[in-house]
Amino acid sequence: MVSRGLSRRTLLQFAGAASLPLSSGLFAGAARADASTLTIAYNVNLPSFDPTVGLSAVNPTIQSIYQSIFDPYIAQAPDLSFKPGLLTKWGWNDDKTKVMLEVCQGAKWHDGTPVTPEDVVWSLTRAADAKGGNPIQFVWSKVGNYKIDGNKITGDVIEFEPTLFKWMAFLTGYVLPKAYFEKVGAEGFEKAPVGSGPYKVDAFERNAFLRLKAHPGYWGPKPAFETVVFKFVTDSTSRVAEVESGGSDVTFEIPYEEFDRLKAKPGLIGQTEPVSDIAMIFITDIDPMLDRNVRLAANHAIDKKAIVDRLLKGYGVPISTLEAPGYAAFDPSTKVAYDPELAKSLLAKSGYSPEKPVKFTIQTTRGFKPKDYEMIQAIVGMWRKVGIEANIEVYEIAQHFELRARHALAPAAFYNWGNAIGDPSTSTGFAMFGPSPHCAWKGKDLVERIGPLWGEKDEAKRIAGWKAVDKYIAEEGEVIPLFQYVQPIIHKKGLKLVPQANGMILPQLITPA
């Protein structure tokens, strides 16, 4: 009989067990309230701890985590300017045949051993090794034959690379511990990474969370939070839920509509900052884009401000070149105006009109960037009014990379381009220089103009040269720059967060208000 088997005690035991998750949930809420812990709902997973090799090393989104654990050679201020990091001084000799570096004294690895110039040289040499797997090896290999004198290092320039020191602040530009890495090997390093950054790894659950503890031997300012938790919450709805429920203190990269809703709530603060990431449309040098009138018409027909205002709720900065405000070669005098009448007249010169439109395909992602597909729909609508009939083809980001590498993109293809070091070589340069595997416009006109700038030693002349190239591209309509992205950040009241122009969310720069 059921009634005999189910005693009051048993019932109470069942009830207790059933309530366990709820009580645990409440307990978890209490744990989250711990003032010494900062929890960040992060938008991507961390695939690998080594910040210098493999696919994740060149993923800009992961760099916030790397910069919490590892020190870059050179640090970067929130406005993209450079400042001393593990290197206190850096520069070229007069004829730019040597680099000179000075290593900070007193820095320690997470295992307590000192950071030495040997570590710096080993890291640079490893990065330059063609077999080492560093994706930016083509930059690091341009200097070699390093010599150490005290805390000073000199190296011979094999081929002048004007952006060398800028790379030292970003992708793969990290110092790793020579002795520890050689002792444990690459596999051991993945299991127990050691850096010299403000935080050390305490616990890691792949695809779930990374828990960091403040590094007591850190050479820089002591971080405000003893414990930092990066929760890997890749779905934007879930990130909104995380911060709204109090499960996380900070999140970012959420839909702008949600951002506006959340920032109006008591207890939450919203911050926005234009970041070094732009939306653009690649133009491939195939028919009908070989016609200058079509390219220029496609440019002039787009009302970028209306797109930003209506689709992105004002969170975006319209741009005319691939250089956004804040980049080294940004030139406000180069402008591509919204002028549908001009677009119509240009198309008329080539025999096109709204009744007899020029036809081509535009490729776009859907859901990869905020409102990407909707934006392209709006652009196609604007084009239709002037005499361009574009067929939208949706592709995955992996397909975009493959097609771009094979020079097989459609005549127009939407993409976003990040440039965290703000140098023109890493925006206009790689996107528009024919021999680059990332370039869609392979025209000789640009190869001839950009080619000499790669090795230009006079910095002022180099930047002026890139500005001239950007002006030329705008006049020829060889790419369609759309706007600079604005990063929405939501955090709890009681925190002070310094937004970074490179889009990083650095826990060491988050403090109690």
Binding site: L20, P21, L22, S23, S24, G25, L26, F27, A28, G29, A31, R32, D34, T37, N45, P47, S48, G54, L55, S56, A130, G133, Q137, F138, V139, E187, E190, A203, E205, R206, N207, A208, F209, R211, V229, K231, V233, T234, D235, T237, S238, V240, A241, E242, E244, S245, G247, Y395, E396, I397, A398, F401, E402, L403, A405, T426, F430, S436, P437, H438
Partner: protein, 335 residues
């Protein structure tokens, strides 16, 4: 199904898996998306790209690549993940227990709910409550698991924030596990606090997975119960004065259970498939969540390993269901 047929099914497993392997391997290389294109550095030359392709063995012909990969698979080596740069076997073995535990808890919830709803519906046959039960089953069947995940996330994560909305365990809890079966291990070690923490994280994704499955169980079982209750043996028992609840539970239910297990059991594979999106929404660290990243990154070795793992699970589950049905149904045991 006779035991002989089960043995035949066992024999067919290796060729089935080999077939899955061939299809997945070839499809991945035919569909657009190239893992090498995703990792080409900005200044790479054609030679650099070729070197990178050779490094991952993608410079060889598809048959050559397949023979090399399959040879390693036979020795238990699924290769190295391109994006995570670790052994695929180790990565899958580390995450699979999380998915299995989640699927098990979801299945238990679904069975409990399905049984309760089906028995209620049959008990109130022909009355208004039965219509309500049928309507409810229809609604729960119509809403897919990932939508339930979002509804639950917003309801119990945001509106009434009772439960955590991400991860498998609270990051503040310090426990060193010996296995990756956190829930079973915590139960065995008597760590009730950790069990609670794990269940609190698991509850929302498990319910999201369970609800459509529970509705399916309820529909199948209710139909079987109704049919069985109309059979002569049930009518005779009733005529002899036995109470209806007793007849339903003791006489009708065991007979109705067999077709429900046979039809519903194989649907557990759908529940397992649902973990891909549900784990993603709740940032749960199982192989479903990992599969999405692998596809985005076109991580061929990891995708191949994950699909083979799912295939093994599906085959094992189907076989287990057949064995259970055979054990329960003497007609099948003895032909």
């Amino acid at each position: 199904m006779r035991w002989g047929e089960i043995i035949k099914r066992l024999v067919l497993i290796p060729p089935t898996l080999a077939g899955v392997g061939v299809i997945v391997f070839v499809l991945l290389r035919i569909v657009p998306g190239d893992p090498i294109a995703m990792m080409i550095p900005p200044g790479a030359s054609a030679a650099d790209i070729d070197r990178l392709r050779a490094l991952y063995g993608l410079d060889r012909s598809i048959p050559e690549q397949f023979v090399s990969w399959f040879g390693h698979v036979l020795s238990g080596d699924f290769g190295r993940s391109i994006s995570l740069r670790q052994s695929v076997s180790e990565l899958i073995l580390a995450r699979l227990p999380a998915t299995l535990e989640l699927a098990l808890v979801a299945t238990l919830i679904a069975i409990a709910l399905g049984l309760a709803v089906a028995l209620t519906g049959v008990y109130f046959r022909g009355r208004r409550l039965e219509w309500a039960v049928d309507g409810g089953i229809g609604v729960f069947l119509a809403i897919p698991d990932f939508l339930w995940a979002l509804i639950l996330l917003l309801s119990f994560g945001v509106l009434i924030p009772l439960l955590p909305t991400s991860g498998r365990i609270d990051p503040q809890i310090d426990v060193s596990f010996r296995t990756n079966f956190y829930l079973f291990e915590s139960l065995l070690r008597g760590r009730i606090d950790v069990v609670g923490a794990l269940l609190s994280h698991m509850l929302l994704p498990a319910i999201a997975l369970a609800l459509p499955f529970a509705a399916l169980i309820a529909r199948l079982l209710k139909a079987s119960l109704s049919e069985a209750e109309d059979q002569d043996y049930a009518q005779i028992a009733r005529a002899r004065g036995f109470a209806r609840p007793a007849i339903l539970l003791r006489e009708v239910f065991p007979n109705a259970l067999i077709p429900t297990i046979a039809l519903g059991g194989v649907q557990i594979t759908l529940l397992l498939g649902g973990t891909v999106l549900v784990e993603r929404i709740f940032s749960y660290e199982g192989i479903g969540n990992m599969a999405i990243d692998a596809v985005i990154n076109r991580d061929f070795p990891l995708i191949q390993g994950l699909i083979l793992t799912f295939a093994v699970l599906f085959i094992a589950l189907n076989l287990a269901v057949d064995v259970v049905v055979t054990l329960l149904d003497p007609r099948l045991r003895h032909g």
